[in-house]
């Protein structure tokens, strides 16, 4: 096991896949000569040349659509969005083209493409640059969406995404890029559609994905000191959703707290909560608790922006509510 950062794990995944398959190319803003706005693509230009690592103009719609066209013509492009905030400019190409071409063509076309970049809050960026937009993608049939919470998953999920024959959106996190973790030395693919039990427990299930998994694990450690055994399910894949793992856990614990750093309405977390309520109705001892972002745009002030987001203490409070315990 090598210890590496989340950023390095993503880089290694792209490096290995580009070496393995010549149809894999990387394109996006600042991915080549600048080595990536967040240095995720560091060194790839030098290794693979400007035919395969391409700096684009700042035209998210244009280069995202170009990637889709390349994909239907037999390539496996990786389109890096500098952040998912900017991907809103490319929403049409993802929703109306990438996700639909197979369908509209009656199965004639394949769109093997990866869209990736940081999603969710960062720090001191205010409201246009700190948004968790998972549900924009998870909403859409025809896409797959993954959200790695740690370096090993970042590595294994991105490799699976690149090899997938459908469009895959990868939700990274600026605030995870520097996180270190163990990544297997041997080539490893993390299958899309399988959640992980990040921590086993018996009293309550905390379902989270992406960066909030860290908070969920912190909360579980705090709860342990109170004698409460929390199980943390890291979804890893949001579309498809590993309901088997979620439902098995909630069936066991009888209480569920769902964590999502998105806004509450029409969010992945709200959907997961609905599924739990439907599938595990007879197992629930309390309503499914939901810890989301506050329903406000992200403020610049640091104390305020922290107050907006899910935190370990908010998760602990939700768990206590689910257990009918006083804070």
């Amino acid at each position: 096991m090598a210890t590496m950062t989340y950023r390095e794990a993503l880089n290694r995944a792209m490096d290995e896949e580009m070496a393995r398959d010549e149809s894999v190319v990387l394109m996006g803003e600042e991915v080549a000569e600048y080595d990536g706005a967040y240095k995720v693509s560091r060194g790839l230009l030098a290794k693979y040349g400007d035919g395969r690592v391409l700096d684009t103009p700042i035209t998210e719609l244009g280069f995202t659509g170009l990637g889709v066209g390349a994909a239907i013509a037999g390539m496996r492009p990786i389109v890096e969005w500098m952040t998912h905030n900017f991907a809103l400019l490319a929403l049409d190409q993802v929703v109306n083209e990438a996700a639909k071409l197979r369908h509209m063509s009656g199965g004639r076309l394949s769109v093997p493409i990866v869209f990736r970049g940081p999603n969710g809050p960062a720090e001191y960026l205010s409201s246009q640059h700190s948004q968790a937009l998972a549900s924009y993608w998870v909403h859409v049939p025809g896409l797959r969406v993954v959200s790695p919470s740690n370096p090993a998953d970042a590595y294994g999920l991105l490799k699976s995404a690149i090899r997938d024959n459908d469009p895959v959106v990868v939700l990274e996190s600026e605030l995870l890029y520097g996180d270190k973790g163990e990544v297997p030395d041997e080539e490893t693919l993390v299958p899309i559609g399988k959640a992980a039990i990040a921590r086993a427990g018996t009293d309550v299930t905390i379902v989270a994905f992406g960066r909030p998994v860290k908070y969920a694990l912190e909360a579980a450690a705090i709860l342990e000191q109170r004698g409460i055994s929390a199980e943390v399910v890291d979804l890893r894949s949001l579309r498809p959703l590993d309901e088997d793992t979620i439902m098995a856990s909630v069936g066991k614990t009888g209480r569920a707290v769902v964590v999502d750093e998105s806004w509450p309405a029409a969010s992945v977390g709200a959907y997961v909560a609905h599924r739990i309520a439907s599938e595990r109705f007879d197992s629930l001892d309390a309503p499914v608790e939901f810890v989301s972002s506050e329903d406000v745009p992200m403020p610049y002030n640091h104390a305020l922006e922290l107050a907006v987001q899910p935190s370990a203490s908010k998760i602990v409070a939700a768990v206590l509510r689910a257990l009918y315990l006083e804070a």
Partner: protein, 336 residues
């Protein structure tokens, strides 16, 4: 003056006639409620698709267009039966009844759709050209769009990308003068779309879209440029006889305007050229017309007799691998 290629003329006439008769039959079927939804007919614009696509190398070149796609699909050599069945929503349609009028596909003919979002096909087409270049196929990609689409950011972003990466793409703006109900002149900063190419250092060319021979000549030049890494923008000035779609009452233009353009009908103009070359053959013309009618009749018969898609097919053609569905429901069976 080049010696007229009479055989080519007759072939072009035949292709345009096939499209014209197919679209007339389509309009009829729409009126009989055999076809629903948005249905955009190509009548009047046949010279553009036939002139350009007829000049392409179908072994390696690719075509993409917008939602007014029946003519391009036929010009690319797609099976009229599969097209009509698709319009009817039948499982034998080229897109298995999933796409309909706006979404015809046949990758074996190099025809990559049939796109319903105005201008969205342009970056996709440039991406196809990117793959052609990356794989060194020597193929080029032609993308058709209307006078409405040229103002989309997608057009400008894509043309810029095509230029900076030297992609084998030809962008053909079919200026049929009406973006739905809006005259192109009311919404365009320039009165010659080919000028827009100059903003990106790309060669622009305006061509008479009612003259199939002119379009063909322009296509041959543009494709040659494109194969050499020089994308081209073409404005083909044309006219559509029918409404924007079948539901268009056409209050925005006069009967006289339509009649005026009918005098420049692309099939009529070509026939005049054949006659001028003393090559007119009334029996051949009649035979072409009758064959085109028979083709359209056969397509309708095929579509009529084709089965509806089974309910379970709603779960097909969405993912490459094992399909999955959110929500825990199965509409086909009602099972959770």
């Amino acid at each position: 003056m080049k010696k007229p290629d009479i055989e080519l003329y007759w072939n072009l006439r035949n292709e345009m006639t096939r499209i014209r008769r197919f679209e007339e039959k389509t309009g009829q079927m729409y009126g009989l409620r055999k076809i629903g939804g948005f249905c955009h007919l190509y009548n009047g614009q046949e010279a553009v698709a036939v002139g350009f696509i007829g000049a392409m190398d179908h072994e390696k070149d690719k075509v993409l267009t917008g939602y007014r796609d029946h003519g391009h699909a036929l010009a690319a050599g797609m099976d009229p039966d599969g097209i009509m069945a698709e319009l009817f929503g039948k499982v034998t349609g080229v897109s298995r009844g999933k796409g309909g009028s706006m979404h015809l596909f046949d990758q074996d003919k190099g025809f990559l759709g049939g796109n319903g979002i105005v201008g969205a096909q342009i970056p996709v087409a440039v991406g196809v050209a990117f793959a052609q270049k990356y794989k060194k196929t020597r193929g080029a990609t032609a993308v058709f769009f209307g006078d409405g689409a040229i103002h989309q950011g997608a057009f400008h972003e894509a043309l810029n990308l095509a230029k900076i990466w030297k992609l084998p793409a030809v962008l053909i703006c079919e200026n049929n003068q009406w973006g739905m109900g809006t005259s192109w002149k009311r919404v365009s900063a320039v009165d010659d779309f080919s000028l827009m190419a100059s903003a990106y250092g790309v060669r622009g060319e305006q061509v008479d879209g009612m003259d199939v021979l002119a379009v063909r000549d322009a296509a041959l030049r543009a494709l040659d440029d494109a194969r050499n890494g020089n994308p081209v923008l073409i404005e083909a000035r044309t006219y559509r006889y029918k409404g924007h779609s079948m539901s268009d009452p056409q209050k925005y233009r006069t009967r006289d305007e339509v009649d005026e353009y009918r005098k420049q009908d692309p099939i009529y103009l070509l026939e005049e050229k054949i006659k001028a070359a003393n090559a007119w053959d009334e029996k051949l013309a009649l035979a072409q017309d009758e064959a085109a009618d028979a083709m359209a009749e056969q397509a309708v018969a095929f579509a009529e007799s084709s089965p509806e898609p089974a309910l379970h097919t709603i779960y097909e053609d969405i993912y490459a691998g094992v399909p999955f569905f959110m929500g825990g429901h199965d509409a086909a069976t009602g099972r959770a």
